[in-house]
């Protein structure tokens, strides 16, 4: 695969007058886990919303899989990318029906088998018929992850997926994400405010501050020999401006 999954050039995003993103050049490669880190308000979630095609940039160019995007993104492209949000918002139905939703949308067959398989993967098989209202926060987030995985996206985006979870569920999700990337080679972008999580997961790390990318580097380099002093400060856990 020659071209990266995403290439962003001079991408600016404004909400009204407020500039939330101003990126020079950012590349999300195929088959790797990219962690996007930075303090609150750095524009991480806004970036993810652009990658998920939920919003379009005010100016600049986004290229997806070698194809430059202009105007409205066609449905076929949209459906190759999916996102897990920080707060799982599930439909009032059984776990099984929730996980099957994305498949049903696409009119796919063999729904039952694929749903069972992925429920196995996230360790929720025994809850298949249960109503989602009976689940704990961690279990609900695993359902959200399951419904994202089952549609076999080319790109999986996760926005602070474990921020609200207990350690058990948090680490379980990390494990699943890492395994997913290893076994299926899916490109994954994870927004996290935890440096430790980034250390555990990332192949590449992008550090955002005030809407701008400060440093984008392979993980080892990012943590041991960062180019930018602010990166180093951030990694050390200091307040960065």
């Amino acid at each position: 695969m020659n071209s990266p999954v995403y290439e962003l050039r001079d991408v600016v995003k404004l909400y009204g007058q407020r500039e939330v993103l101003h990126l020079g050049h950012l590349v999300i490669p195929h088959g790797e886990i990219t962690c996007v880190v930075g303090p609150n308000g750095a524009g991480k979630s806004s970036l993810l919303r652009l990658l998920n095609f939920l919003e379009s940039p005010t100016s600049g160019q986004i290229t997806f899989d070698g194809r430059p995007l202009n105007g409205k993104v066609p449905l076929s492209l949209r459906r190759r990318v999916t996102m897990v949000f920080q707060r799982p918002i599930l439909l009032s139905a059984s776990v099984r029906d929730n996980v099957a939703y994305g498949l049903k949308l696409r009119g796919e067959k063999e729904v039952e088998a694929r749903v069972s398989q992925v429920l196995d993967l996230v360790g929720l098989s025994q809850f298949a018929r249960a109503s989602v209202k009976t689940l704990s926060g961690g279990e609900a987030q695993r359902v959200a992850l399951a419904r994202a995985i089952v549609i076999e996206p080319e790109v999986l985006l996760l926005d602070e997926p474990t921020a609200n979870l207990d350690p058990y569920n948090g680490s379980l999700i990390e494990k699943i994400v890492a395994e997913l990337n290893r076994e299926r080679g899916i490109a994954i972008a994870v927004v996290t405010h935890s440096v430790f999580q980034a250390k555990r997961l990332a192949h590449q790390v992008a550090f955002l501050l005030g809407g701008r990318e400060i440093e984008v580097a392979p993980a080892e380099q990012f943590f041991s020999t960062p180019a930018n002093p602010r990166t180093a400060a951030f990694v050390r856990g200091e307040m960065v401006y």
């Binding site: 439909l91 139905a93 059984s94 029906d97």
Partner: protein, 301 residues
């Protein structure tokens, strides 16, 4: 989720089927009008061929006369007569708007005006019944047995005894107003209850309040058993209640079923039908209406 959608779909399907059934359903008699000898008016499409819309008053309909008479007409011409029973005022208004084909009402002045204004072709006498002054057995105004209706009204006003009025510009109400005028009185005050309702409701109120009221004989006879009111004054010519039939003018409203309306008028005024009207007896055994068409009068001179 699946089950719910299925059930919802089932309910919608049932509603849709009911709807289709409703669209196919025709009124209880399904007439097929016979081809008439007279070619239909070229420009007008009759609203509902084979159906005649008769606007009449509630007291006429409630008396049961129409249920008794109309089947003859319906059978003879193989049509359906739809009866809309409202107050006289509303019935005439329906006629003025062209929403009915023929009127059967009892409000002479308004009928004459209707024809004069060109809404109807002409007005014919059909029958008459009479009104009664009803009141509580106690008769606080002391009018029992009086032969002069206006004088009785005057005594009621003087005694300020409660009086229940239709107050709805119906034939009955118009007659009541005429009698007050004859007595030179404008009734007002707490004792005078203007209800704006039909005869039945008015009788109920009169019973509850022990009030006097003016009622047509037909409704009185129908309610006699449980009424709690007595006949106090009757027989005054001023209490006679003539009915008129008017076909709505097709020149004004081309879509009225003019031909059928004229056949109806002819049939209603015929001696045969008039004798039937005379024969219509209330459950009490007393006749309700007295035939009065020109044809009948000529035959019984």
């Amino acid at each position: 989720m699946k089950r719910c959608s299925a059930r919802l779909g089932l309910v919608l399907l049932v509603l849709a089927l009911l709807g289709l059934a409703g669209c196919q359903a025709t009124p209880t008699a399904t007439p097929q009008p016979e081809p008439s000898a007279v070619p239909p008016t070229p420009t007008a499409v009759v609203r509902q061929a084979g159906q005649l819309l008769l606007a009449t008053t509630t007291s006429t309909a409630d008396s049961g006369l129409l249920s008794y008479l109309l089947p003859d007409f319906e059978a003879k011409y193989n049509v359906k007569v739809n009866v809309v029973a409202v107050g006289s005022g509303q019935a005439m208004e329906i006629g003025k708007k062209g929403d009915a084909d023929v009127l059967l009402v009892h409000a002479r002045a308004a009928e004459d005006q209707f024809v004069a204004d060109g809404f109807g072709i002409k007005r014919d006498d059909v029958m008459y019944n009479d009104f009664l002054i009803l009141g509580p057995a106690a008769d606080p105004a002391g009018i029992k047995g009086m032969k002069d209706a206006a004088a009785a009204f005057a005594k009621i006003a003087e005694a300020k005894a409660p009086f229940a009025s239709r107050g709805d510009n119906s034939g009955t109400h118009v007659k009541e107003k005429d009698i007050w005028k004859k007595a030179n009185i404008t009734p007002s005050g707490d004792w005078y209850l203007s209800l704006g309702q039909g005869m039945g409701e008015t009788l109920t109120v009169a019973k509850e309040k022990g009030a006097y009221t003016l009622s047509d004989r037909g409704t009185y006879l129908s309610r006699k058993d449980n009424l709690g009111l007595e006949v106090l004054v009757e027989g005054d010519a001023a209490l006679f209640n003539p009915y008129g039939v008017i076909a709505v003018n097709p020149a004004k409203w081309p879509q009225v079923n003019a031909e059928l309306a004229n056949q109806f008028v002819e049939w209603l005024l015929s001696v045969e039908t008039q004798e039937k009207i005379a024969a219509y007896k209330h459950a009490s055994g007393l006749p309700l209406f007295f035939p009065n068409s020109e044809a009948w009068r000529a035959a019984h001179k």
